[in-house]
Amino acid sequence: MSTHKKNRHVGIVGIGQTEYSSHKEHQNQAEMVNEAVRNALADAKITLDDIDCVVHGNMELFEMVHQPDMWHSLGSGAHGKDQFRITTGGTTGSSLVCTADSLVASGMYDVVMAIGLEKLQEGHTTGGITNMADPLWFRHLQTGALTATTATLMIEEFGEERAKKAAMKYRILMDKHACLNPRAHRRFGLEYDQMDDLMNTSPRLVGELRLIHMCSQSDGACAVIFASEEKAKKLCKNPVWVRDHITVHREETFNNFGIERPETTHHYAARKLFERNGIKNPVEYFDVFEMYDPSAWWGLDWLRDFLLLKNDEHLKMLERGDFDLDGKIPINPSGGVIASNPIGATALLRPAEAALQIRGDAGPQQIKKEVRHALASGFGGTLWTVLIMLEKYLDW
C-alpha cells in the first residue's frame, strides 16, 4: 500500500550547529537557537528571506517552557513565516527531518528549516525523562533513561569479560572520534589502555552502566535547511538527498523485558526500510552510520539490530576495527550522543553529521574514502526508533 515514492526529491542545503557544552549561561534559549540558525544560513549561503517555513522541536518539560516555539521565534527566524512544532521525545530531531522532508516533497514549501534544540542545564534531565512514565504507575520508579538492562543481557549472552571490554572499547572509540570533532561537548582523550581501569572504577549509575558509558547532558542547537530538488540544485553545488525514512514506535509500557522479548523497533525499522529500498546488505551498502547511541551498551547492542547482524557479529566487527573512522562502516565519526546530547537536537545532529560526511565537509572527523550512502538514526520513547537514509547522488 504505502507508496514511499516521493512527489519530488528533497535535498539538505545547509547545516548549522552551536558548540555543545554543559553550560551556556551566555545565551538564553532564543539566542542559542539563533546561533544555529545563523550558522545554517551561512552554510547554505542564503538569508532568512529564502526560508518558507520553520520546523521547531524540543521538549517542553526539560526547560519547563510551554509552546517554546513562541519565545524561540525571537531567534528562529520564524516571524512572518509558516512554522510547525514537532516533538516526540528523544526522536524529536529525526521527526523534524521526517516533517521537513514531507513539507518540501509535498510541494507546499520549497525551503524548510528544521531546528532542534535543548538547554538541558536549565532543568533536570533525568527527572525530565522520568516524567514520561505514567504518573500513576511507574513514574515513582523510572530513573530517566538510565538502565543497565542491556548491559545485563549482553553480559549474560557474551560473558562478563568480553561484554564489558567490548562496551568500553566502543566507548573509547566514540571518544577518539569526539576528540576529532571540535564541536563535540565531551572530549576526554581516552586511550585503549585505560579500558580495564575505567571498566572497574568509573562510578556506577545503574548496575554495570557506569558514568563513563552514559551520554552527556548538553546545551546546544542544530539547524538544517531542506530544499526541493529544483531549489536545492540552484542553491547548492552538493546537496545531500533524503532518500527515505521510517519511524517505528512501541506501546506505552516498557514491555521489553518479559520472558518473551519482542522484535526491537530498531530491527523492525531496518528490516522494513532496507527491504523497500532494495538494500540486501547494509554493512556493504552504507559508508557511514550516525547512530543515536545514548550509552555505550545501547550503542553497541543496537548495531546488531540496525545492521541486521547475527549473534556476536557486531562484537567481532568492533574488535576488528570495522567501526573505526577508516573501517568498513564507520560509526559516529562525530563522537555520537555519548559525546554531545542536547536532546531535542540530538537526533537531528545524526543526519546533519552524516550529510556533512557525504559533502566532505565534516572537518577533522571526515572519513577518508568517499561517502555516498549514509544512515542516521533517532531514539526515544519506550524504545522507539527512526531511520533516515541520505544519498550523495540522485541515482537510486
Binding site: 554543559s22 549561561e25 543497565a148
Partner: protein, 384 residues
C-alpha cells in the same frame, strides 16, 4: 610549589577552616579523605561534625572516611576553582570517588565559601613589566627595590631606563629606593585591601632612599588586576525557580480497577479478546491487535523475575521533587498468569539485592494502609 590555574593544592586545604560555614553543616557527621596525586599533591582528611571542622595533612592515604576523593593535582584544583567540570572529571575517570558520593553533592556546597586563588607577591611583581606605562616613562630613570619579608616574600629590583622596564631577582646596591614590608602587606596594597598612606604612616611600609622616587614609581605602573573586576563584569545571572502546577490524574475504569485491586491485595489484568494477551497493568486496548480489552482476570500475586536494575544514581522523583535515596532496585517481572511479554516493575526489597536473579519467584510486600495507588505496594521480595 606547583600551581594550577594560579593556585596550589595546599592553598585549598589551608583556607578551608577560614571558608567553613558552621551553619551549613548542622547535624552533619562525615569524614572526607583526599588523595591528590602529582606535583603539589598529598593526603588530607577533613572531618566535619555538626558545625565544626578539622583539616589534617596526612603522610599516608586517609582511612576511616565516609568518602575518599582521588584526583590528580591539576584536576583537583581545576574542579575546585570551577575551571573544570566536576561531572566530566568524574565521567572521564580523572576524578574518582570511593564511598558515599552523595556527600559531595549534599554536604560540600553548603559547608564552604568558594575558594579563590590567593594572590602572591611574586605574581604582582612579575606582572609589573606588563603593567609598565610607556606614556609615563619619558625621561624617567630609576631603580626600585622590593624587600618583602615573610611567606611568599623575596627581593626584586625593577629598573626603568630609556622607556624600558626590566625585572630581576635580588636587590641591586644602587637602587634609588627600596620598599620594605611583609609580602602580605605588599599583596594587600596591590589588591586594594590597604591604602598606601595608612601603610606608610603606620609603619607597615618602610622606605629606604629617595621618597620622591617611591611616590613617582606608583604612576609608572598600571593598577594590578586581581581578576575580580573582570569576574564581576562577566557575571551571568541564572534564575532559579521550581514551576509547580498541581495535577489531578484520572484513573478511568481500567487503571481504576488495578488500583482498586491493590487495596484488596489483588492484581487485575486485562485479557485481549483477539490474541488473549493478559496485560499488566491493565490497558484499555491491546496495542498489538488494536482492539478494546474489557475482560479482567486476576493475576499474581507472585511473579517471576526477568531482569533487575540496581540504581546508584540519585535523581529527583518528579511527583514530589525530592531526591530519591539510593541505592534502590527496580525489579522487572512477569506476574503469574500474565502474558509472557508483560514485564511490570516495582521496587525490590533491599535485603534481596545480593540474591536476586532472573527466574526467581518474588512476592508483593503490602503497605498496612492501602488507598489505591502505587504506594500500596511497598516492594517485592524473594518468595523463599
Amino acid at each position: 610549589m606547583a600551581e594550577y590555574f594560579g593556585a596550589a593544592v595546599a592553598d585549598i586545604f589551608n583556607t578551608m577552616e577560614r571558608r567553613f560555614i558552621p551553619e551549613g553543616t548542622k547535624g552533619v557527621d562525615t569524614v572526607i579523605g583526599y588523595n591528590v596525586s602529582g606535583e603539589g599533591g598529598g593526603y588530607w582528611r577533613v572531618t566535619i561534625k555538626d558545625g565544626t571542622i578539622k583539616v589534617e595533612k596526612l603522610d599516608a592515604a586517609p582511612t576511616g572516611c565516609t568518602v575518599v576523593l582521588n584526583a590528580k593535582a591539576e584536576t583537583f584544583v581545576g574542579v575546585t576553582l570551577g575551571k573544570m567540570d566536576a561531572g566530566e572529571a568524574l565521567s572521564s575517570g580523572n576524578l574518582k570517588v570511593d564511598g558515599d558520593i552523595t556527600v559531595l553533592i549534599t554536604v560540600l556546597p553548603k559547608a564552604f565559601n568558594k575558594f579563590t586563588p590567593i594572590v602572591k607577591a611574586r605574581t604582582i611583581v612579575e606582572s609589573m613589566k606588563e603593567r609598565f606605562r610607556l606614556d609615563k616613562a619619558e625621561g624617567v630613570t630609576m631603580k626600585l627595590g622590593y624587600d618583602l619579608a615573610g611567606e611568599g616574600g623575596g627581593k626584586w629590583t625593577i629598573a626603568v631606563k630609556d622607556k624600558t622596564c626590566t625585572l630581576k631577582e635580588g636587590l641591586d646596591s644602587d637602587c634609588s629606593v627600596v620598599l620594605k614590608m611583609t609580602a602580605q602587606t605588599f599583596v594587600d596594597l596591590n589588591t586594594g585591601k590597604l591604602d598606601g598612606a595608612t601603610a606608610f604612616t603606620s609603619g607597615q611600609v618602610k622606605i629606604d632612599g629617595d621618597i620622591g622616587a617611591a611616590g613617582n614609581s606608583a604612576k609608572l605602573f598600571a593598577k594590578f588586576d586581581t581578576g575580580e573586576e573582570k569576574a564581576k563584569g562577566e557575571e551571568l545571572i541564572s534564575l532559579k525557580c521550581l514551576p509547580t502546577i498541581n495535577q489531578r490524574y484520572a484513573t478511568g475504569p481500567v487503571m481504576g480497577k488495578w488500583f482498586a485491586g491493590l487495596k484488596e491485595k489483588k492484581f487485575y489484568a486485562t485479557r485481549c479478546p483477539s490474541c488473549g494477551r493478559v496485560q499488566t497493568p491493565p490497558r484499555e486496548i491491546c496495542a498489538d491487535c488494536r482492539v478494546r480489552s474489557e475482560e479482567f482476570v486476576e493475576v499474581g500475586p507472585n511473579a517471576t523475575v526477568t531482569i533487575v536494575d540496581l540504581v546508584y544514581y540519585a535523581s529527583p522523583d518528579p511527583l514530589t521533587g525530592k531526591i530519591r535515596e539510593t541505592p534502590y532496585a527496580a525489579v522487572f517481572m512477569v506476574m503469574d498468569g500474565a502474558g509472557k511479554d508483560q514485564s511490570v516493575s516495582h521496587f525490590l526489597n533491599p535485603k534481596d539485592f545480593s540474591r536476586i536473579k532472573p527466574g526467581l519467584k518474588v512476592r508483593p510486600v503490602w503497605a498496612k494502609e492501602r488507598t489505591g495507588n502505587y504506594e500500596d505496594l511497598l516492594c517485592f521480595e524473594i518468595d523463599d
